[in-house]
Amino acid sequence: MTPSNDEIPAQDITILLLEDDPPTLWRLQDALVKAGFDVAAAATLAEARASLAGRVPKVLLTDLQLPDGHGVDLIRETRQRFPDTEIMVISILGDEESVIAAITVGATGYLLKDAFPTDIASTVRDLVAGHSPISASIARFIVRRTQASAEPPPGPPLNTTRLTPREIDILWGIAKGFSYAEIASHLGMSRQTVPGHIKSIYRKLEVHTRGEAVFEALQQGLIKL
C-alpha cells in the first residue's frame, strides 16, 4: 500500500497496544514506534482501561487472551464508548475463531502476531485510512455462512443476513485470491470502493445489542477459546 499524500501524519496517530506476552509486546511496540506512531502499551485489561480513562487512542490494538480477562470485552466497551476509535485484534493464526469473534463485537481489522514490522505499520496506516484488511480465509468463512445450511456450522455464530449480494460477490472474489483491482473490474466498480465495502461488511457483522441470543452464544463460544 503506497502512502497517499492526504493521510494523517504518523505522530498524530495514537495507539493503545494491549498484549500480555512481553516479547511480542516489545516487538509490536518497537515496530509501531519506529514507524512514528504515538504508542501506549498495556499488558492487562486493567492497565488498558486505566489508559483509556486518561487518553482515547485513535487505534486500539489488542490481544484476546489476557491474564485478567478477555480482549473481546475491551473491544466491546471501546466500540460503545469511543465509536471513532479503530479497533484491531492481534491474532496468532489469523483464524476465523479469533478474528470473527472480534469483528462481531466491533473490531474492523486484524494483525498477525508474527507480521513483519513493515507490515505492522502499513496495516495500521491502512486501517486509519479506512482500509480494513481481510484475508482469504476470513472472507471464505463469512461467505460460507451466507449459504443456506441445515445445521449451524461449527465456529462462532455469525449473522450474515444484512450483507448485500454485491458484498457477498466481493467476499467470494477475496476468498478465491483475486486482487481488489480484479474484483473491481469483474463487478464493474472502482478499485477504490472495494476497501470501503469491506469495512461496511465488518460493520454489518457487528452485533449491537447485548441481549441478542447470538451474542450470548458468541460469549459462550469465546469462553472456550
Partner: protein
C-alpha cells in the same frame, strides 16, 4: 389483439371437432343400417323344406262349430280354454307298393305350430306335442316329427286329423305339413331342431356361465353394481330357458308362465347394466324401468295364467322393445364418446336384437306374411357374445393397466431408491464434513493456545536478540505451516481456488520483506475446475508444492518477480484439467539427466519432494529451468485419487 387472433382459430377447432363428431355419428348410423339390412335379408331367407310332393295343405277346419275348407298355413284366433282345440281334417295317399320295395317307413313332419298338436292317422293318435316341454313354448319354433306305424297305413287314401290346442298369448298357427318317407323328412326336422331347439339351449347354457362369471365379478367387486345388474339379467335368462322344462308342468303353471314372461325384467336389468357400465349417471326415477317386470311377476303370482299372458302381450312386449331401444341409444352415445370395442360390439348386437324383435312383433301381429318363426331368442345370442367379448376386453385392458401400473411403480421405486441413495451419500458427506470441521476447530483452539503462542514468542525473542535471525525464520516458517495445516482442513467444497486464495495471502506476506512481486494471473474465467472428491491432504500436498517452488525461487534463484498462472486446460474432454504454473525470473539451476537438480543436496531433496507430492495427488509436475528462470508446471488430475497408495 391476441383474442381477435385466437378466436377464429378456436371456432375453427370447434368446427373441426363438430364435423368430426357428425361424421362419427353418420358412420355409426350407416353401420347399424347395414346390420339391419343384412338381418332382414337373413330373415327373409326361406328355410330348406322337404320336396313339395310330400306336402299336405288341403284341410277342413272344424272350429267353434263352424266347418270350412282351409289351405295351410292357417291362423286360428286365440282362446282361453284348453279343451277347445281347432280340428283340421285332411288326408294323404300312401303307395304301399313303392314304399315296400324300398322298405321305407313313413312319417308326418310338422315344421311349425302354436301351441300344441295332437295328430291322428286313420283315427289313431300318433303324437301329442304337449308332452314335450320345449314344444309347448310359443317362443321356440320347435318342430315335431312322428313315425306312422306301418300297421296304420292303408294303401291309397288315409285320414289325417290334427287337433290344434291354443293357449295364447299368440293366436294358433299351423304351418304346412309333410307326410312322406321318414328318410326324406327326418333330415329337415333335424335341421330345424338344431336351429330352434338345440342352439337356444346352447346359448342359454352360455348365458348361465356368463351369469356365474358376473356374479363372481360382482361379489369380488361390490363397487361395480353394473356387473350385479347384468348378472341378474343373465341368471333370469338362463333360469327361464331351463327351469320350466325341468319342472313338472301342471304343478306350477303360474310360476312357469311368470318365468316365460320374465323378458321385461331381464331387459330392464340389461338396461340398468348399460346405464351403469357406460358411465351414465343413474337417473332419479331409474327404478321405474323395473316396474313392468315387477308388475308382470305380481300378476303371475296372484293372477292366473291367462291374465299373465294377456298382460305380457299388452305391456311386456312393448316394454322389452322400449328397453332395447334405450339400451341401443345409451350404447350408441357411449360409442360416439369413447369409441371403445365393448360399446361398438354391444351396439351392433343390440341392433341385431332390435331388428329381430321388430320382425317377431310384426309376425305375432300377423302383419308380416311369414311362417311365424320367432328369432328374438336366437338373435339374443349376438348380445351374449358381445357381452362376453366386451367383458374379456375389459378384463384384458385392466390387466394391461395393472401391468402398466406395476411397471410405473417399479420405475418410481427405482427413482426413489436412487434419490434415497443420493441423499444418504449427501448425508454421509455432510456428517463427514461436520466432523472434520469440529476437529479442525478443536485443533485450531489447541494450536492457538499452545504451539502458536510459543512460536510467536520465539519469533519475537529472536528479533530482540538480533543475532538468531535463523531461529526467527524457522519459527515463522513453522507458524506459516501451522496456518496451512489448519487452513487446508477447512471444507472448501472441492474448490481449490479457495485454498489458493489463502495461499496467495500467505505468499504475499512471505515475499513482501524480500521485495519480490507476486504476479497472480487467473487465465480461465472460473480458474480451476471444482473437484468434489478433493480432500484436505490433497490440498496440503498441492500447497506445499507451490510453497517449495516459491521458496526455491526466493532462496536459491534470487528471483525478482514470481508469477503464478491458474487455468483450466481443455483438450477436447468436457471437464478440463486444472493447471497451476509458478514461474520466476531467477538464475535457474541445472538439471541432471535424471531430472533431479544436481546443484545442491537441499535442492535435490526439494525437487524430489515436489515430485513425490505431485505423484501422490495424481498430478503431473513439469520442471523447466534455464539461465532466464525456472518454471514449475503442475497439471492436476481429472479426478483426485481416494488414497495416496501410489506414493512412490
Amino acid at each position: 389483439m391476441t383474442e381477435v387472433l385466437a378466436k377464429p382459430a378456436s371456432t375453427g377447432g370447434q368446427a373441426v371437432r363438430s364435423r368430426k363428431q357428425a361424421s362419427r355419428v353418420f358412420q355409426y348410423i350407416l353401420l347399424q343400417a347395414l346390420i339391419v339390412i343384412v338381418c332382414i335379408f337373413a330373415l327373409r331367407q326361406p328355410l330348406p323344406e322337404p320336396p313339395s310332393r310330400y306336402l299336405v295343405t288341403a284341410f277342413t277346419l272344424e272350429d267353434r262349430g263352424t266347418i270350412r275348407p282351409v289351405t295351410l298355413p292357417d291362423f286360428v284366433p286365440t282362446r282361453l280354454s284348453m279343451d277347445d282345440p281347432a280340428l283340421y281334417r285332411g288326408g294323404f295317399t300312401y303307395d304301399s307298393t313303392a314304399a315296400r320295395d324300398e322298405q321305407r317307413a313313413w312319417s308326418i313332419y310338422l315344421p311349425r305350430f302354436t301351441n300344441g298338436v295332437e295328430i291322428f292317422v286313420n283315427g289313431v293318435e300318433i303324437l301329442d306335442s304337449r308332452r314335450d316341454p320345449t314344444a309347448n313354448r310359443p317362443d321356440r319354433a320347435t318342430p315335431e316329427i312322428a313315425l306312422i306305424p306301418a300297421s296304420l297305413l292303408r294303401d291309397g287314401a288315409n285320414d289325417l286329423a290334427i287337433r290344434l290346442y291354443i293357449w295364447g298369448p299368440v293366436s294358433g298357427f299351423l304351418d304346412r305339413l309333410y307326410v312322406g318317407p321318414d328318410e326324406a323328412l327326418r333330415h329337415y326336422y333335424e335341421q330345424r331342431t338344431l336351429l330352434f331347439v338345440t342352439l337356444p339351449m346352447v346359448f342359454a347354457a352360455w348365458q348361465g356361465i356368463l351369469a356365474v362369471i358376473l356374479i363372481v365379478l360382482w361379489v369380488v367387486r361390490r363397487n361395480e353394481p353394473a356387473y350385479g345388474a347384468l348378472a341378474v339379467a343373465m341368471a333370469l335368462g338362463a333360469i327361464q330357458a331351463f327351469l320350466p322344462s325341468a319342472m313338472d308342468q301342471p304343478a306350477y303353471p303360474e310360476l312357469n308362465a311368470t318365468l316365460l314372461a320374465s323378458g321385461p325384467l331381464e331387459s330392464a336389468f340389461v338396461l340398468a347394466f348399460a346405464i351403469l357400465f357406460f358411465g351414465r349417471k343413474w337417473p332419479r326415477y331409474g327404478a321405474l324401468i323395473f316396474l313392468p317386470g315387477v308388475l308382470l311377476a305380481l300378476v303371475g303370482v296372484f293372477g292366473d295364467v291367462a291374465a299373465i299372458r294377456q298382460f305380457f302381450l299388452i305391456f311386456g312386449l312393448p316394454d322389452v322393445g322400449l328397453n332395447l331401444v334405450l339400451v341401443a341409444l345409451i350404447v350408441a352415445w357411449s360409442e360416439l364418446r369413447r369409441q371403445d370395442a365393448p360399446s361398438l360390439l354391444l351396439g351392433c348386437a343390440v341392433t341385431i336384437v332390435l331388428t329381430c324383435f321388430a320382425h317377431d312383433i310384426l309376425s305375432v301381429l300377423q302383419i308380416l306374411p311369414d311362417r311365424r318363426l320367432f328369432f328374438i331368442r336366437l338373435s339374443y345370442s349376438a348380445m351374449l357374445v358381445a357381452i362376453g367379448a366386451g367383458l374379456t376386453w375389459r378384463f384384458a385392458q385392466a390387466l394391461n393397466r395393472v401391468d402398466g401400473f406395476a411397471a410405473h411403480l417399479a420405475v418410481q421405486l427405482r427413482e426413489a431408491e436412487e434419490k434415497l441413495k443420493l441423499s444418504f451419500a449427501r448425508e454421509e458427506e455432510r456428517a463427514r464434513a461436520a466432523a472434520l470441521s469440529r476437529e479442525r476447530t478443536r485443533l485450531m483452539r489447541d494450536l492457538h493456545d499452545g504451539l502458536g503462542g510459543q512460536l510467536v514468542s520465539i519469533v519475537a525473542l529472536s528479533e530482540r536478540g538480533e543475532a538468531g535471525s535463523g531461529v526467527g525464520d524457522a519459527a515463522r516458517a513453522a507458524l506459516k505451516d501451522l496456518r496451512l495445516v489448519i487452513d487446508s482442513m477447512d471444507d472448501i467444497g472441492g474448490d481449490l481456488m479457495l485454498a489458493l486464495g489463502s495461499w496467495r495471502d500467505r505468499a504475499t506476506a512471505q515475499l513482501r520483506p524480500h521485495g519480490i512481486a507476486l504476479d497472480w494471473r487467473v487465465l480461465s474465467p472460473q480458474g480451476l475446475p471444482v473437484h468434489p472428491e478433493l480432500r484436505p491432504w490433497h490440498v496440503i500436498q498441492i500447497v506445499r508444492i507451490l510453497d517449495e517452488a516459491m521458496t526455491n525461487a526466493v532462496k536459491h534463484a534470487e528471483a525478482r518477480r514470481i508469477s503464478v498462472s491458474i487455468e483450466t486446460l481443455h483438450d477436447g474432454a468436457s471437464p478440463g484439467c486444472g493447471c497451476i504454473t509458478v514461474e520466476d525470473d531467477g538464475k535457474g539451476f541445472a538439471l541432471a539427466p535424471g531430472g533431479a537438480a544436481a546443484e545442491t543436496r537441499h535442492g535435490a531433496r526439494g525437487l524430489r519432494n515436489m515430485r513425490s507430492r505431485a505423484a501422490r495427488c495424481g498430478a503431473a509436475l513439469e520442471l523447466v529451468s534455464s539461465g532466464g528462470g525456472t518454471s514449475v508446471r503442475l497439471t492436476l488430475p481429472r479426478r483426485f485419487p481416494d488414497s495416496d497408495a501410489i506414493a512412490g
